[in-house]
Amino acid sequence: MPRSLITLVSLAVLVGAWEFFGRDINPVFGSYPSAIAAAFVELVRTGQLGAALYESLRPFVVGYGLAIIVGVPLGLVIGRFRVVEAALGIYVTAGYAMPLVALVPLLILWLGLGFAVKAAVVFLMSLFPICINTWLGVTAVPKSLIEVGRAFVAPNSVILRRIVLPATLPYIMAGLRLAVGRAVVAMVIAEFFTTISGLGAIIINSANNFDTATMFVPIVVLMVLAIGLNGLIGWVERRVAPWQAEIAGRDD
């Protein structure tokens, strides 16, 4: 049975059950797929959803992109050099557990209520999983591959770029996947706590109007977005690290 078919069946069962039982619930306390679909069509028709999505995605893309640009090199040097690991490792470990929501008011004081603070929240939430995974990946690089570099007198920078980085790619990609989920959550948190805008605004406004079906639309959209981004990362991974799928011992 092809994998996509299994996923489709699983999805059909879940949505079907939700539709069947959801109809009996008071529409303030819950909703069901067909009502959410109707609300979705309405939001698309008025152009609200498109505008909100665009507004949400801008800080998301910037924050997540910056987290990759900073997190991957940071993880590489922390993993590769003992001194850097001793100096910076604790901040990354601590930062991963940092209750970011509590710091949002402070970030607002520094960065205002607009685009910058939203991008910063997304950045801070996705930076640490990316960095930690890269770091872990570097420590898992086989010593024997490093020794190939040393035996052929490769300078440290070349060993880092041409041996450590490619060997770490599967871990980096796993970090990027984990970070997508956190970045989506961060984006909504930022929209709740700063200028209410984007998809977060639709959630808050419809919840305030007891319009539960409409409230579910952005939530579903965000989950679908996360699935799509995960698929995209998987596709990129197969492009940049095709050997990984070949040597991984996974049953198909």
């Binding site: 024997s144 591959l145 070349v158 490619p166 690290a241």
Partner: protein, 257 residues
């Protein structure tokens, strides 16, 4: 030219066993030499320090005391005058066979057309003319090790250092590779120092066999087989081979007690 000289090389490791530090003497004033163009095998029971000796000769590990020299020049680290062939080939899995060979060359500063041509020439030498664009996982174990040998030879080192290069291969592939190494040696005249635990391999390939025990030389044995050794099959059946192999077997067994 390409001679190797190990003089009074000692190596002490510190191990942590149950929280207590333990000094392990891997090499104890080890001395032997490899002449230019010669093939020397390092053999001995496991734990005798043969791989450590090879790694120190390569510069991957440093000696606690003593001196390693290539053509009279002291070894202080890895260098392009020595080419290393690893036990499990250790190809970079994200590079093609040709790119793996080119990696070593690039580190030596070779660029452009010369880079591609040299890599191809050495792939030809090891019989992989048409497999240059395959990735390691698309090559058999024997083919991977051929790439490993091509990568080491391509930088034109004075000395080829091999760490149980055929130890991970099946018997048949191993014999093919031994014949090819003999052939490559006949053509390139490279000095070769290799570690093995295979008596047949030591006798067939080497001019001299260094038998090690407890980190020191127990005996250095000449192999009185003539060169070129084109027909390995005939050699295996020869009386000289059998007698030498027996002498070597006795020498190693004497160390085991």
């Amino acid at each position: 030219m390409g001679s190797v000289e190990l003089t009074d090389v000692s190596k002490t490791f510190t191990l942590r066993v149950d929280g207590a530090e333990q000094a392990v003497r891997a090499l104890d004033r080890l001395s032997f030499g490899v002449n230019d163009g010669e093939i020397v095998a390092l053999i001995g029971p496991s734990g005798c320090g043969k791989t450590t000796a090879l790694r120190i000769a390569m510069g991957l590990d440093s000696a606690s005391s003593g001196r390693v020299a290539v053509d009279g020049v002291a070894v202080t680290g890895c260098g392009h005058d020595r080419g290393m062939v690893f036990q499990h080939a250790e190809l970079l899995p994200w590079l093609t066979a040709a790119e793996n060979v080119m990696f070593g060359l690039e580190m030596k500063g070779v660029r452009g057309a010369e880079l591609r041509d040299t890599a191809q020439r050495y792939l030809d030498l090891v019989g992989l003319t048409d497999s240059g664009s395959r990735r390691p996982y698309q090559l058999s174990g024997g083919m991977q090790q051929r790439v490993g040998i091509a990568r080491a030879l391509a930088i034109d080192p004075k000395v080829l250092l091999m760490d149980e290069p055929f130890g991970a291969l099946d018997a048949q592939t191993r014999e093919t590779m031994q014949a090819e190494l003999i052939d490559i040696h006949a053509r390139t005249k490279k000095t070769i120092l290799f570690v093995t635990h295979d008596l047949d391999e030591a006798v067939l390939l080497a001019d001299r066999v260094v038998v090690m025990q407890h980190g020191a030389v127990q005996e250095i044995m000449e192999v009185p087989l003539p060169r070129p050794r084109g027909d390995l099959e005939a050699l295996r059946g020869s009386a000289v081979f059998a007698a030498t192999r027996y002498r070597l077997w006795r020498a190693i067994n004497a160390t085991a007690h």
